[in-house]
Symmetry: C2
Subunit: 623 residues, 2 copies
């Protein structure tokens, strides 16, 4: 137990919940890593799609960024309201479910779950890819690095929200400080030089344009840039993680994250244009990330550059933390409504929803291993889920305000309505733009997950229907149960079991399966060992039943006898008493047949309500 305590921390009592709650400072790293990390790959994704336009493409980056920031603003206002309206945690699932109905809720929920799963895998592998491209010697260790990062994320999240926040504070704020420092320096230089700053380390000269601008290219660039928005919804599911006044703290955290993200997006777009930085082909050897070129151009290759790049790498790797913070919470909300296994709603030893964390870790691990740690092909998929969830959430809020009424209801309805339209259109654009690259997979995965959830729900309903009782106890004493004991040989084990059986009932059947190959004197000593002492005590003598087993099966004759006995006595309960040797060490079990276990399993799987299994253990001292 002590190792478990060291790795995962001591168990926390439910009463300690308050001590685990966080404030704004820890809220930003816990819920904001994904959104902030987006600044590192959103502009890059858009610029990569503009490569064919050459330097001319740069002209479109600022307007595209402004559109994306406008969508971001709409999403911000929407979630700001959601947090207030659903202080218990109101992610897209809750909002859509409570305002639009179960199906829209589950649609939003499954979109989010798929988004987070992909997000975790892609976040880790993208971060590790950035690391290995910075240090090519690490390349053979790609998968190991991915799985180690996954392990760190899993353990840290299992240790609780506070520790997660504490651990990720340093890289988060390092990232923010270095990015804004770079942006300030850059903007200062650009303004000073009248919009044409001199690059300290010049970015590579871009290739000439190989295509004319087209709506399609711009639409694709927009869809690419939209990945910058994923992760923004995270706080809405995690309001309960904050301490009081939690609505205020959650909203403030959201504001900080969005402001920082918007600031970085504007700053990067402006500087990229000012320095004339064009994305390089990611598959080429000379590939360099946009951020790296930008940092080099602004400040040169000094310690500041390397610190900033390191913080970017850490943010990318740990951006998966947002998935770890939110996936378990979404699972919990859905599980509480009975559409996922109930165990998702149990808080673990550190007051987090451990099962969700473990399930996410396993799925992510499987994805990382099956793709060998290189999940490029998953990247196009995950914006779909995020924007679908945004849309459902906004639409839900429209319904919310309509029902709620009040002073500002009309104004809010309009804002959320615009938001729903904007994000809905974005979903369509992203699906269209990335359909062939894999967005269709999400369109299959979401219905599949929905179907699974409905089946889970139906099963729980059935079980509930079959087991729920409106009637009080039926006190009907009836006859004592029939007891069947299978005994192979006379030993202290069988002696103890038989003596126990006589304590419970007067009707005992001792079943002995004749073994042909081995010496067997059980029946010969039956009278001496059992009948004589019982007759002496004037108690009821158990019946000895000898079974032959032509095919040398040992379990089958016993189970058949038990089932037949229950059938012949439809008014009686039957107890199969199974003596079991308990060894002190697990590896000694290899030395014994697992007949007791097999017999128990067989009886429980094939039996009926009137047959129960009584395990009478016999402990070996091992001395």
């Amino acid at each position: 137990m002590s190792i478990v305590n060291v790795v995962f921390g001591r168990p926390l009592a439910s009463s300690e919940a308050e001590s685990q709650q966080i404030g704004v400072a820890k809220g930003v790293p816990v819920f904001g890593l994904d959104a902030l990390g987006s600044a590192a790959y959103g502009p890059e994704a858009a610029l990569t799609l503009l490569i064919p336009l050459g330097v001319a493409g740069l002209a479109y980056l600022v307007p595209l960024s402004l559109i994306i920031i406008a969508v971001l603003a709409v999403v911000y206002f929407s979630y700001r309201q959601t947090i207030e309206a659903y202080p218990k945690g109101g992610g897209s699932y809750t909002v859509a479910h409570q305002n639009l109905g179960m199906f829209p809720g589950l649609l939003a929920g499954s979109a989010l779950l798929i988004d987070y799963t992909l997000d975790a895998a892609v976040g880790i592998s993208a971060g590790v890819a950035a690391l290995t491209s910075a240090f090519p010697a690490l390349h053979p260790w790609t998968l190991t690095l991915c799985l180690s990062s996954l392990g760190i994320l899993t353990v840290v999240n299992l240790r609780g929200v506070r520790e997660t926040g504490a651990l990720f504070m340093v890289p988060t704020y390092l990232f923010l400080v270095s990015m804004f420092t770079a942006i300030c320096i850059g903007v200062f230089k650009a303004v000073q030089s009248g919009g044409h700053p001199h690059a300290v380390v010049a970015p590579p000269v871009p290739h000439g344009a190989i295509a004319a601008v087209s709506v399609w290219i711009l639409v694709k660039a927009f869809a690419g840039g939209c990945t910058a928005l994923t992760g923004v919804e995270a706080i809405s599911n995690g309001v309960q993680a904050f301490r009081e006044d939690r609505v205020k703290l959650a909203r403030r955290t959201l504001a900080i994250i969005i402001a920082a993200l918007a600031g970085m997006l504007v700053g990067i777009a402006y500087l990229v244009k000012a320095y004339g930085i064009v994305a390089t082909d990611p598959s080429a050897n000379s590939y360099q990330s946009v951020l790296s070129m930008l940092l080099g151009a602004v400040a040169g290759r000094n310690w500041f550059y390397y610190t900033a790049i390191l913080s970017v790498l850490l943010i990318l790797i740990f951006s998966a933390n947002t998935a770890f913070a939110d996936f378990p919470r979404v699972c919990r909300f859905i599980a509480e409504d009975g559409y996922l296994p109930t165990s998702f709603s149990n808080r673990g030893r550190r007051l987090v929803y451990s099962e969700g964390i473990v399930v996410l870790a396993v799925i992510t691990g499987v994805l990382l291993i099956s793709f060998g740690g290189i999940t490029d092909r998953l990247i196009p998929l995950f914006a779909v889920g995020a924007f679908l969830a945004f849309t459902m959430s906004q639409a839900g809020m429209v319904a919310h305000w309509r029902r709620e009424g009040g002073k500002h209801a009309r104004k809010y309805m309009i804002i959320n309505g615009i938001g729903a339209c904007a994000t809905g259109i974005t979903v369509l654009i992203v699906v269209m733009a990335k359909f062939r690259e894999g967005a269709w997979i999400t369109l299959i995965a979401i219905p599949a997950l929905l179907l699974l959830m409905y089946r889970v729900h139906r099963h729980y309903q059935k079980v509930n229907q079959e087991t729920k009782s409106d009637t009080p106890l039926d006190v009907m004493q009836g006859k004592k149960p029939l007891i069947v004991i299978a005994i192979t040989q006379w030993s202290l084990v069988s002696r103890q079991a038989l003596s126990f059986a006589m304590n419970l009932s007067d009707e005992i059947k001792v079943v002995h399966v004749r073994q042909e190959d081995t010496k067997d004197d059980f029946c010969d000593t039956w009278h001496e060992n059992v009948v004589a002492p019982i007759a002496h005590a004037q108690a009821c003598v158990p019946e000895l039943i000898e079974l032959s087993s032509p095919f040398r099966f040992v379990i089958q004759p016993i189970t058949q006898y038990v089932f037949k006995l229950a059938e012949d006595h439809p008014d009686r309960r039957v107890i199969a008493l199974i003596p079991e040797l308990i060894e002190k060490r697990w590896y000694y079990y290899f030395l014994h047949t697992q007949r007791a276990t097999l017999l128990k399993t067989e009886l429980l799987v094939q039996g009926n309500d009137r047959i129960s299994v009584l395990n009478v253990p016999f402990y070996l001292t091992g001395r």
Copy 2:
């Protein structure tokens, strides 16, 4: 079940044992494949070691072969007597154990077991290597071919002795016929041409000598050639597989195998010398096996050559069958004496010792996978085990005749004594010659296996000591047991369990662990559901115990309560009654917490003799 029947055959009743017994025709393939296959690699192994001597090395092959055949003859006479003296199966283990004591017996036994394990892996991979060198296109499939052959051997052997014999008859006799045809043609041509026959396809011209002859080279060549003798002991363990008169049939089978092996060894040695065939370097590209060169020289590259080569390949692959025939039998003999898990001595559905077959298959599979299907480096290891077993067996027979006395005892003692010395010296030679190539591994593995066997035996003795009972039943009725039921909520499941408990005892404790996060009205409805109806029926009311769980553990408070209760009532038995929901489909178990299973396990592992576990199942109909 029907798939199992198709793959492994229908179960055979113990009374059908006779129908599974075999005669000479099937005995040769079942027990002889390894010995006969030796003819294909024994001479090759010796010749490879003579390569440095060039053509001059050929002069030593015939004398070396004659020495090997002399050892073979001694071994033959020894095992002929063993079969008669131990008609129940008297391999090296039995003979050494019964005549020299337990330790020599186990030494022989573990030597044999290690020999067979290596034999199975090396046989399969050597056969597949021969196949892939004949058809290089198969090379990438080496491991797949190895594992498929292993699969075939395993399934065939699990299907029983008769089917194994029937399946391997064709390749065995095809091999014998083609080898002897080739030898007859070759000898005829050689004699006709006065000892210098003209090769149809000339063997490659040998390199010149690069070393002078030395005792060391000859000793190594002898040790290499001795691999031809492994597998000869197989029949001695399997006498019981033959039908009556089994001693006669077993001896006849042994005679046929030895005669065929000796004939092939002599024939090959003579022809190799006559045709001037020198082994080629196995690591060179131009490598060709001695048998291939010999067959080409005698008969040319026609359909006969290809048929013969094919039969050699099959014999090599399936030579592992001897290990599959004998390993389980040796395990059985040792298990019956309590030095290996007893389950090795259970005859499976097809009357073979299935567990031994499965264990051998698993170990072989692991070896094949870890070596990637190329087990060259294991080859030097396995003659040690075989010859150590020979030596122990012969020494045992000396003691046997000494004790037995009788007319021929003195003569037999001398034969066996010579045999023991000859094979003992061979062990030393093989260990010396191959020590650095890996024979030392056997010298570590044998003591390790011996240690394991002694520990297994000691554990069985202890268990026996702790459980054996010389005393009859102690009839002491005493008080009824205390029953503890853990109930989460009022349902048909708990209702049934409680009603059952009341049938067994008057003292019932209902334990309820308070769940903080969920709605919980169990205690509020306790009176209405339980107390009222019981009071009405004037029975004993169960005690309701509410447990709090500050750390949200569910199992721990219950087990702690049970253990405390047992401690407080040292004179009472405690039954933990565990209601369990039984689902119709296994995958529904993912939807439930496994609390019942965990609680059972925890109670059995941590508990004591007075605490037993009663499982009361509740079956969901799934409709």
